[in-house]
């Protein structure tokens, strides 16, 4: 039987590059400072469009291969036209994508071959908060549930550890579980 070390695992994650980056950044920690950017434009009603393309990192301006756009709106039961996901669903999308990317990366590091990974997310919300009906109800989620289905060459405990480690290293998990200072200003 091949040992864990020799087994070839292909999850499409370039671990060597990631480890190399960590080494390089240790010598030049300034380069680790990234700024992520998005621009948003109101379209009509509750419909708006967000675009991402440029960001900053490794000491200079960077760019995605192309601009990506995201439509956001609200469903018809909110008297909206439903041109896209609700903003809170986009948050779920962000959390899911971040955790799943993490699962793949950690699996690669731990030499675990993944066959399939899928997740279902639920964010509970009492809309009395956003409607301003009850001061005691918060606007945001009262909790988020993520459930993963993972088929991989690993034991149940190893798979649980993958998911746990992915949360530990996830940017979006940190953003939703910890407070962040948000400054919103208005320019003419």
């Amino acid at each position: 039987m091949p040992t864990a070390k020799e087994k070839e695992v292909k999850n499409g994650v370039n671990v060597e590059a990631l480890l190399g980056a960590r080494e390089a950044l240790e010598k030049a920690p300034q380069a680790a400072k990234f700024t992520w950017r998005a621009t948003n434009k109101w379209v009509n009603g509750t419909h708006s469009q967000t675009a991402v393309k440029e960001f900053f990192g490794l000491g200079e301006g960077q760019s995605h291969r192309q601009e990506f756009t995201f439509e956001a709106d609200h469903p018809e039961i909110f008297a909206s036209e439903d041109h896209g996901a609700t903003p809170v669903e986009l948050v779920l999308a962000g959390l899911a994508s971040c955790l799943t990317a993490g699962v793949a990366a950690v699996a690669q590091m731990r030499k675990i071959q993944l066959r399939s990974v899928s997740a279902t997310l639920e964010g509970g919300m009492d809309i009395q908060g956003i409607l301003g009906m009850d001061e005691d109800v918060r606007n945001g989620f009262d909790g988020i549930k993520v459930s993963y289905k993972i088929d991989a060459d690993a034991t149940k405990d190893e798979i649980e550890a993958l998911v746990a480690q992915s949360q530990k290293r996830s940017a979006v998990f940190d953003i939703v579980t910890n407070p962040t200072n948000v400054t919103v200003e208005v320019n003419k």
């Binding site: 864990a4 920690p29 405990d157 649980e160 550890a161 746990a164 530990k168 998990f173 579980t177 910890n178």
Partner: protein, 433 residues
């Protein structure tokens, strides 16, 4: 004043090095700002007992001689143990001598103290890993009505006002203090970040016996996959209670301690806790299971199953379905906040350019790139056990050998010794933290 080597710090680490230098007839002094075992005399709480059993304090030329090898030393016993070591090895200690700077000279080092300056060819930094308590930056100060305390300032519950206490940090120190304060009748809220759960006794043996016997504690720094991570892992949730009970989040919950997530900030007098508690607990439970599985495998391979109790697992850690994310500190009766959030060493007085951007000494297993300058007592310096009393001996032997060959102008010999044998499964279990 002139000597060949200056050891700074008369804790067990500096003393172990002193003994090794004496054996090699290397002329040296041990400079100590206070007294022998100063950290144990001045920076520990009253009820503290070592979490390592009595047998696990083997130092060069010294060790436990009593009839309770599995017991855990009280503070007076720990102090007496280290003081006696200093006597037994006749360490050349200069007490009440605080080092205020160390810098390079043409022939070695100038060690400036409040009692004059020493010139030496070599210097060993054994000033301890736990000099400055870390207090997290929360963006806002706590309400003035609340007293704050770091753990080196904490002595016993009577020192605290009656009323609620928020203990921040759930590693060995945090859980022990939370346990004692809750029992004193002050309701404790414990903010839980990363932590490592461990049974005190597993299959009839102390967990430290397992880690020692299986070679986990001997694992070398040049054997681990992620050394940076290994050097930063928190202390195990263990306590040296005479009844050998396991101290974990479940036992604290049973006492009535309220568990919340990592303290993430303070806003308008309100403490904000991270929503990551479930994951922190899951990570810790999984890590414990991995380690116990690997230890079981090791025991089977070593043919020990016959003499050990059968394997068992602790109940999963219980936490509330929705732990609170915020707490109005004053409003909910919190009178004291205790920071059990770890320590960093203090090298602010070190003027040799070996510090990294975070003020830590750069070193390769205790050998700095300034010839003749050595470091001891840091977590995973050369081995997993390096920061423990039991770990100083092997490190002092290696580093004193290196120091001697440096004095004789020889090539380094100690840097790479044979790695300790440890099963791949064990290594993997420990690596995936």
């Amino acid at each position: 004043m002139r000597t060949t080597a200056v050891i700074i710090g008369a804790g067990h680490a500096g003393l172990a090095m002193s003994r090794c230098l004496t054996e090699r007839s290397i002329d040296h002094v041990v400079l100590e700002r206070g007294e022998v075992a100063n950290s144990w005399k001045t920076e520990r709480w009253d009820s503290l007992r070592l979490l390592t059993p009595n047998w696990q304090s083997r130092l060069p030329g010294y060790g436990y001689e009593g009839d309770d090898p599995d017991g855990y030393r009280t503070m007076p016993e720990t102090i007496a143990f280290i003081e006696r070591y200093a006597d037994v090895i006749s360490a050349p200690i200069r007490k009440h001598t605080a080092v205020t700077s160390v810098s390079r000279t043409e022939k070695g080092y100038a060690v400036v103290t409040d009692q004059g300056t020493w010139q030496s060819r070599a210097v060993v930094l054994a000033t301890g890993a736990c000099n400055i308590p870390v207090v997290p930056d929360l963006g806002e100060t706590l309400p003035a009505a609340i007293a704050t305390l770091t753990t080196p300032q904490y002595r016993n519950p009577d020192q605290l006002e009656s009323g609620g206490v928020l203990v921040v940090g759930a590693s060995a120190t945090g859980v022990q203090i939370a346990d004692e304060i809750q029992r004193s009748g002050r309701p404790v809220t414990l903010a839980v970040g990363e932590h490592i759960r461990m049974p005190r006794v597993y299959r009839g043996r102390d967990i430290e016996w397992w880690m020692d016997a299986a070679g986990v504690l001997d694992q070398r720094y040049d054997e681990v996959e992620d050394l940076r991570r290994a050097r930063a892992v928190p202390s195990l949730q263990l306590a040296g209670h005479p009844d050998r009970r396991t101290l974990d989040l479940n036992s604290l919950t049973e006492l009535g301690v309220k568990l919340v997530g990592r303290l993430a900030g303070v806003r308008d007098g309100k403490a904000l806790f991270s929503g990551s508690l479930k994951n922190k607990v899951a990570l810790s439970d999984l890590k414990m299971i991995r380690l116990l599985n690997a230890l079981d495998e090791w025991a089977t391979d070593a043919g020990l199953d016959g003499e050990l109790a059968p394997p068992h697992r602790l109940e999963p850690t219980r936490i509330d379905e929705s732990p609170p994310l915020g707490m109005d500190l004053v409003g909910s009766g919190i009178r004291t906040v205790i920071w059990a959030t770890g320590f960093v060493p203090d090298f602010s007085w070190l003027s040799v350019p070996v510090l990294d951007r975070k003020g830590r000494v750069r070193h390769d297993g205790g050998i700095t790139d300034s010839p003749g300058l050595y470091l001891m007592g840091m977590q995973f310096l050369r081995r997993r056990k390096s920061a423990l009393i039991d770990g100083a001996g092997d490190d002092a032997r290696d580093l004193s050998a290196h120091l001697a060959s440096y004095l004789h102008g020889k090539e380094d010999v100690a840097r790479r010794a044979e790695p300790a044998p440890m099963r791949a499964a064990l290594r993997q279990a420990i690596a995936n933290t």
